[in-house]
């Protein structure tokens, strides 16, 4: 905030040049100091005011036309919640969700993507079962062959021991 002592007539002229004669438009923190200083020299202050006020008044003669009824009606019609806002409001009321809409929507989307990813990238259940069946069959066949071979070898051994001895 500017101190009273920092206010001078140069600054007061600048205030009038920039903001005009109306003290309400001057910066809040300078208004009181400026008015106090101006009160000390009313004649000089009045000259500044008159000049600035003449321009202020002339500028105020330029009146902006009111918005036409047609445009006003059109703007009023468009001033309502759009689809996204309505959807969000309804979903919040239905789900009782108070946070941002993207959070439940994001969770749903993530779950959906995860499901699609597992379904698309993972092994085919039919192929998996078939492979397992084949593996089990192979295992049984391997076991049978091994047992038969060892049995033949055992018989060979017994025959050799009996006839060669």
């Amino acid at each position: 905030m500017k101190e009273h002592d920092s206010m001078d007539w140069t600054r007061i002229e600048t205030l009038h040049d920039a903001y005009g004669a109306n003290p309400d438009r001057w910066p809040d923190d300078e208004r009181a100091a400026a008015l106090t200083l101006m009160a000390r020299d009313p004649e000089r202050a009045d000259a500044l005011r008159r000049d600035a006020l003449a321009l202020d008044e002339t500028l105020s003669d330029w009146v902006a036309p009111p918005v036409s009824h047609e445009i006003a009606d059109r703007m009023q019609t468009s001033a309502r919640p759009g689809f996204l806002v309505t959807l969000r409001a309804k979903s919040r009321s239905l789900l009782g969700w108070q946070g941002p809409l993207w959070q439940p929507a994001g969770a749903f989307a993530a779950a959906l993507m995860l499901g699609l990813a597992i379904g698309g990238v993972g092994p085919d259940p039919v192929a998996f079962l078939t492979g397992e069946t084949i593996a089990q069959t192979d295992a049984v066949e391997d076991t049978t062959t091994d047992d038969l071979e060892s049995l033949i070898l055992d018989l060979d051994g017994l025959m050799e021991e009996k006839y060669l001895s």
């Binding site: 002229e13 600048t14 009038h16 040049d17 920039a18 903001y19 005009g20 004669a21 109306n22 003290p23 309400d24 438009r25 001057w26 910066p27 809040d28 009045d46 000259a47 500044l48 005011r49 008159r50 000049d51 600035a52 006020l53 003449a54 321009l55 202020d56 008044e57 002339t58 500028l59 105020s60 003669d61 330029w62 009146v63 902006a64 036309p65 009111p66 918005v67 036409s68 445009i71 006003a72 059109r74 703007m75 009023q76 468009s78 001033a79 309502r80 919640p81 759009g82 689809f83 996204l84 806002v85 309505t86 969000r88 409001a89 309804k90 919040r92």
Partner: protein
């Protein structure tokens, strides 16, 4: 009422100007109980239709007026105002609007107005305008139209930034601080724009009609 440099400042005029509120419209709680912008924006985002109407009522004329000061064409100004609000509604639907709605709308309206001015300059278009007036006599209408047209022409001859500064402070009644924030410049830079703009206006308007004071600085 016309005030000439030779006449003393009428007391009634001075009092009226001194007591007139020049604060920007509600961005916070008001003494009259009106909801601040932030509350209305939140309600609108929650789908409350009444909040939309309230925001529109609060800012429609101000934004249209601001656009008019920048463009000088009421039809184009209405288009700018309409587009500004449409953008506000659309933006609100996807993300929160930062700051108060008035500042946001003023910023968007100015951008749209500048675009239109650029297009108009490129196309070499001219603006024709009729002044609506409540005056009943033909003489008053003519007088008001003459003054208004002169001011309008002088304003439109200013550089865009000087015009925007004067529009914000003089016509939109924003404080220097708010107007500077709106233009994204310092208060000192704003004061420079205002002073140069007003000096130029005074020169132009004084040259046309000798009912204004001397150019700033000449009286000293």
């Amino acid at each position: 009422m016309r005030v000439t440099p030779q006449s003393p400042v009428p007391e009634a005029v001075w009092n009226r100007m001194s007591t007139r509120s020049t604060r920007s419209p509600r961005s916070g709680p008001d003494a009259d109980g009106a909801a601040p912008d932030a509350v209305l924006l939140a309600q609108a985002r929650d789908g409350e239709a009444s909040a939309y109407s309230e925001l529109l009522t609060r800012y429609r004329d101000r934004i249209a007026g601001y656009a008019y000061r920048l463009i000088g064409d009421s039809a184009a100004a209405e288009d700018v105002a309409q587009e500004s609000f449409l953008r506000l509604w659309r933006t609100m639907a996807t993300k929160p609007v930062e700051g108060n709605a008035g500042a946001w709308l003023h910023r968007v309206a100015r951008n749209l107005a500048v675009d239109r001015l650029r297009l108009r300059k490129r196309d070499g278009g001219e603006v024709s305008e009729t002044l609506p007036s409540n005056d009943t006599t033909a003489e008053n209408k003519l007088q008001a139209k003459c003054t208004s047209d002169r001011v309008r022409a002088a304003m439109l001859a200013l550089p865009e930034r000087q015009r925007a500064a004067i529009a914000l402070v003089h016509y939109q009644n924003l404080s220097g601080k708010d107007a500077a924030a709106q233009l994204e410049i310092t208060v000192e830079a704003l004061e420079s724009l205002l002073a140069r703009g007003r000096r130029k206006l005074r020169e132009v308007l004084s040259a046309e009609k000798d009912n204004l004071g001397p150019v700033a600085g000449e009286s000293q």
